[in-house]
Each structure stands twice: as C-alpha cells, then as structure tokens.
Symmetry: C2
Subunit: 226 residues, 2 copies
C-alpha cells in the first residue's frame, strides 16, 4: 500500500532543520501501526508526507503502486481525498461551521449530494457519541468534543487509510477507549490505521510499533499482544 | 486566595447547556490542585472563570478578598494579568509571531521595557528546553514544542497562580516529566498551581484532586503521596 524509500524533509534556509533523515518504511493494506517518539522527533512531519499533505525534500514515495513524488497538486489532492482520512494534532476544524458541517466536508469534495451527506455525517457523529452536539460550532464545544468531531470527519468518507495524530490527547480515559474500540472495528473491516501517540497503553492496540528519534526510525517491532 | 460559591455557567438560548452547576470551591495561596473529569464535564469552563477569562451566569467569586463578579472588563484584565498565568488547552499562540515574542506578550501588557522582556523570555524558554527554537513561528514548531511555548508564556510574568489546561497532552513522557518538575519547583517557591489532566500519573503530582461530572464537583480529596 505505501512504500517510502530514502524520504528526507529539511526545513529552513539559513538554519536547516532535518525533520526526517532518509526514512525507509512499508505499510501494507489493513495494517495497524503506532508511531511514537519524543517531541520534535518528526512524527507529524512523517504523517503529513504519508497523507500527501506535504512533500518530502528527497526520496521516493509509492502509494498503491503510483509514484507520489511526481504527481502535481491536483493529482495529490485527488489521491488524498480518495485514500486517506486525517486527524490533525490541532484539529483544524472550520470555526464558523457546525460540527455536522465540518464532518460533511470530505463528502463535499467528492460531490456527494446534500441529504446523503447529512445522513452519513450524523451516523459517524453518533459513533463518536456527539449526536447532541451536532449543531454546535467548535467554540461551543469542549477540547475533547472538538477532537471527536475531527475523528468523525476523518472517518465519514470510509477511507482505506486513517492517519491519526495524537487522536486521544484531549480525551479522558473512557472517551479515549471508545475511540480505540472504533478504530479496531474499522481496522478489522480492512481500513489501515496509522496513529501517533505518546501513550504506551494506546500504542499497544496496534499490531506494530515504530519509534522515531531525531528524524530516524530507531525501532520497528511487531506487537505480540495487541 | 480564591473562593467560589454557587458558581453556575449556562450556555445557549433555546437549547440550554448547564456547563457548571452551583460550584463551591476554595483554593488557598500556594496550593497545588489537579482537576479531572470526563470530556465535556466543565473543567475548561471552570478554569476560564477562575482565570477571569469568562464570567459565571450566577454565583459569587472572591479573589484575594475582592468580588470579581462586580468588576468591569478593565479591572478584570488588570487582576488577570497581575495574578494568573494561563496555559490554554489549544495553545492560542499568535501565528505570525516567533516563540520568543509570544512569550514576551504578558510582559508587554505590564509595560516591561524591551531588553528586559527579551531576557526574561529567553530565560523561561531555556527552562522548557526551547532555546534553539526561540526564533521559530508556531507553524514551524511541532505540537509539543508549541505547547511548551504556551507554558513558557504563562510563567514569564511569575504569576501568583498558574492555571494549566492539559499542559502535557501533546508531550512525550520525558518532556511531560520535565514540565511537572518545573511546576513543582515553582509551587515550592509559593506559586499556586491548578491543572486539568486526564492522566492519573500527572494528577498524582498535586496535593489535592478535584473531580467534576456534568458540571458538579463530585469529589475533592487530599492526595496523601504527591
Ligand atoms: N459556547 C458554548 N456554547 C454551548 N455549549 C458550550 C460552549 N462552550 C462549552 N460548551 C459546553 O459546555 C460543556 C463543558 O465544556 P468544557 O470545555 O468545560 O469541558 P471540559 O471538561 O473541559 O472537556 P474536555 O475534557 O473535552 O476538554 C461541554 O458540554 C461543552 O459542549
Ligand atoms: N515549518 C517548519 N520550519 C522549521 N522547522 C520545522 C517546521 N515544521 C516542523 N519543524 C521542526 O521539525 C521537527 C519535527 O517536527 P514534528 O512536528 O514532525 O515533530 P513531532 O514528532 O510531531 O513532535 P510532537 O510530539 O511535539 O508533536 C521539529 O523540531 C520542528 O520544530
Ligand atoms: Mg506532532
Ligand atoms: Mg477542556
């Protein structure tokens, strides 16, 4: 499904920041992978590149056999919208739109008609326990509720691949557990999941745990007891 | 130091949301308190009221003997800037400003001259391990680095009271521990600390643990082994 080889990302002009250093990584369809590492080690940068939200400085990226690094912006957006659902570390919800409209957004890009969009959005908001809050705007929701809206938006288009950056960082342990149960159900139905977490207990739900340090993969182990 | 009695907060016009329901709470100078509770239980709402960032719908709030509920907006801002440092759940950094300028902000409000502001800002950025990143803007920092900038900004004015809403939510366990050590040092020097967390391990640093559920205080216990 995805194959990265020699992927690097360097920021800056005079002072260079090597966020990723020659990363080689393969993730198969339907896999469940956790990504861990200290603050600033390159986790979000790697997720942004895998999710086609950012381009690497060097290296090649094959997604479903196609070479991502040679696609133009439009092709990249097409692939991203069809393949991946993204939960950002800082939510990135549209401030003036209701929770329900925020969740509809990926379906608007795909041209899904209004009534069906609304039905699908309400269905996934129900799964994250937010039916009652569907008509609230982000500033009328708590931090944890906003995070669950961001999760619902990532799932509404039934992506082949979920990329979630600290999806439970703002959730209490019960809401966190409910989200992990939902991810496991979707993973069993065939969706690949890649999540960033600082929490060992969350990482242990995954089948494989990859650790980054200073932009390099320092360990990549199967988890015997997910 | 702070004394809340019968504090309620209700949002909305047609559909009413009771975020806080008649809360009575006293916190003394130099105390270290953790606030826990499920997502949506009213933690951030309570912190915003204690930090004079929002007004209650009902009830009285005494801060250092003065009645907060009768102060006008200017008096409220004066008290807030002098007394409290605030770490928001969603950081609220100024996007186009460097980390160092973001940290200087509370000192600009107090009229501290430029060179001294810069010295104090760099000093506190050093304490959170971000000296190298001082000239980066928020979108050139990782999630955990942004959170540490927000913590540095809250501390730069040496407030009598630190209000921190999930201060380690985006930090790996090592950076999180470093932040907790810093809070403990400042608490020993006399600063009152109130922090919201979902993590039992973080809450156990505090001397007292308060639990909210549906806008009510359901438990308020001393922690025997901080
Ligand atoms: N402006 C608003 N209008 C309507 N409801 C609001 C508004 N702001 C907050 N709420 C509601 O008030 C309740 C309490 O929110 P609060 O942000 O205090 O929760 P919290 O305990 O901090 O949760 P979390 O752990 O998810 O951050 C929530 O149900 C939220 O939806
Ligand atoms: N636009 C940018 N310009 C310069 N440096 C950047 C930029 N974006 C990110 N960085 C740097 O790249 C490094 C990797 O950042 P990244 O966001 O991937 O870290 P992370 O592992 O997700 O950390 P966290 O756990 O704190 O979220 C960091 O040191 C960060 O400061
Ligand atoms: Mg990150
Ligand atoms: Mg909150």
């Amino acid at each position: 499904m995805i194959e990265l080889s020699g992927i690097s990302k360097v920021y800056g002009i005079d002072r260079l920041v090597h966020a990723l250093r020659r990363i080689d990584l393969k993730v198969g369809a339907g896999e469940y992978v956790a990504l861990m590492g200290p603050s600033g080690s390159g986790k979000s940068t790697l997720m942004n590149i895998i999710g086609c939200l950012d381009r690497p400085t060097a290296g090649t990226y094959l997604l479903e056999g196609g070479t991502v690094s040679t696609m133009d912006d439009d092709q990249l957006a097409q692939v991203r919208n069809r393949m991946a659902g993204f939960v950002f570390q800082t939510f990135n919800l549209l401030a003036r739109q209701t929770a329900e409209r925020n969740v509809e957004l990926p379906l608007i890009y795909r041209g899904v008609p209004g009534p069906e969009r609304q039905r699908l959005a309400m269905e996934v908001l129900e799964r994250v326990g937010l039916t009652e809050w569907a008509m609230h705007q982000p500033n009328q929701l708590s931090g944890g509720q906003q995070q669950r809206v961001a999760i619902a938006r990532a799932l509404v288009g039934r992506p082949r691949f979920l990329l979630a950056d600290e999806p439970t960082g703002n959730l209490d342990s019960r809401s966190g557990q409910e989200v992990m149960v939902l991810f496991e159900e979707l993973n069993r139905e065939g969706m690949a999941v890649m999540l960033v977490t600082h929490d060992e207990r969350i990482a242990h739900h995954a089948g494989r745990i990859i650790k980054l340090l200073d932009g390099r993969v320092v360990s990549d182990e199967l988890n015997p007891a997910p």
